[in-house]
Symmetry: C2
DNA sequence: GCAAAAGTGTTTGGATTACACCCATGC
DNA sequence: GCATGGGTGTAATCCAAACACTTTTGC
């Protein structure tokens, strides 16, 4: 990999950013991982990340990493936590700040960039040993994601533009590792501002479900008037 | 101030840690601020902070800053957010990680250290213009504190060892800027494991209130058995 | 007795839970 | 017609809000 400045200059202290990219499919939350093509931890699965340039804003570094890997733009990035144990990186003191992004999996076309020999979506419950302290980074980030899923309508960043109410339910069931009652779940979400489409699922061998979208516009309006606050 | 390594070595990139120290008194949450005795922003009020040594763990740097200023030890530190705009520090690229600590104000004897000409507790609603981007750091940290106050029994770190139920109520009223009904508040906290003392307030010119402590031991026990989860 | 705050009980309406049932589609 | 999931109604219960009331202290 080529940096615009000499690699050495990054070290003594160095500051990196790891970007956890989440997606949702088949009732499971997935994480986009790369197989490292360089030492340290060559050949191991890892969270995509990169060093932050001296004149680069953290948010911009996050967007750059996300874009390089997925070609996505305009995705909101959320800061997770910062990890800075002196020994966490074998080559020197690298403090890393974790960010996460929520993506619609069908819009992501991940390609192995200069960092990686392979890129893969892995369902969260199947993620095994990762490079560095990336398992720890994942678990604290997932805890923060769960808090945000409870208090902000971020679930819709993971779902396709048009989704069924059952997909929404499955997302929360997977995130919180719980079984929810269908009728009760629908009563609970009754106050969420949805756009109700006339379309239905196709190619299913049962009664097709109605499709909904989240009404961002109405949501912001309700928020501003303090007439609604998202809670799950 | 003397560093163990040359000051220059810190720069190009540099990594600092700011420590927001909260306390509670007279129904108000306070923040411990210092008046800077050095440029940049000399003479302005700021959140205490310091550079992190290359071989120092972030948590340890936080504890060091807290201890230097307040002489407190054994206080839990909570990570807040990391701030890294390229221009946030006029002398170079300083990325800072904010931590916060909750203290019992009567146990804190803050002394102006080498950093500061003055140290002062200021009620949150009276905090004015601070140095650097410290107002932004304070507001995001306070948002995170509120989330934690809602989901974990951290309020007891701010209250004296023995407190009245009304003090507990005032803490939440101040944090969430709301008026709560006394009878309803007491119903809500009925499940919190308290130690009920035989002592009462003294020197009050009204019926003295009973004193309570938080029963850490019983709390941990209930948590482990999954028989209770703190919610406010 | 009065002021001030401590401390408790009752009622009501809305949310949560458990559960039962009907509906639309593919094969 | 039957398997599969979509979609809805009801009753019991719990919880939160509003409000009223009694108690204990200092002066």
């Amino acid at each position: 990999m080529n940096y615009k400045i000499e690699f050495d200059k990054f070290f003594s202290y160095s500051f990196s950013l790891d970007c956890l990219i989440f997606g949702f499919e088949n009732g499971q939350i997935h994480l986009l991982l790369i197989k490292r093509n360089m030492d340290p931890h060559k050949g191991e699965w890892a969270i995509p990340g990169d060093l932050v340039y001296p004149d680069e804003d953290l948010d911009d570094a996050g967007k750059r990493i996300l874009h390089d890997l997925t070609n996505l733009e305009g995705i909101r990035l959320h800061q997770s936590q910062t990890f800075g144990k002196p020994k966490r990186h074998p080559q020197g003191r690298v403090i890393t700040c974790a960010y996460f992004a929520l993506t619609k999996m069908e819009e992501v076309n991940a390609v192995a960039s200069s960092w990686a020999t392979e890129v893969k979506w892995i369902p969260l419950h199947k993620v095994k040993q990762l490079a560095f302290d990336h398992n720890e980074i994942l678990s604290s980030t997932f805890e923060i994601l769960k808090i945000k899923l409870s208090n902000e309508p971020l679930c819709f960043d993971l779902l396709p533009e048009k989704f069924t109410l059952n997909e929404l339910q499955q997302l929360y069931e997977y995130a919180f590792n719980s079984d929810l009652n269908k009728a009760n779940f629908r009563k609970k979400i009754k106050h969420i501002p949805f756009i109700s489409h006339d379309e239905k699922q196709i190619n299913v061998k049962h009664r097709p479900a109605k499709l909904f979208s989240f009404d961002q516009k109405r949501y912001k309006d309700l928020l501003a008037r303090q007439e609604y606050s998202f809670k799950m």
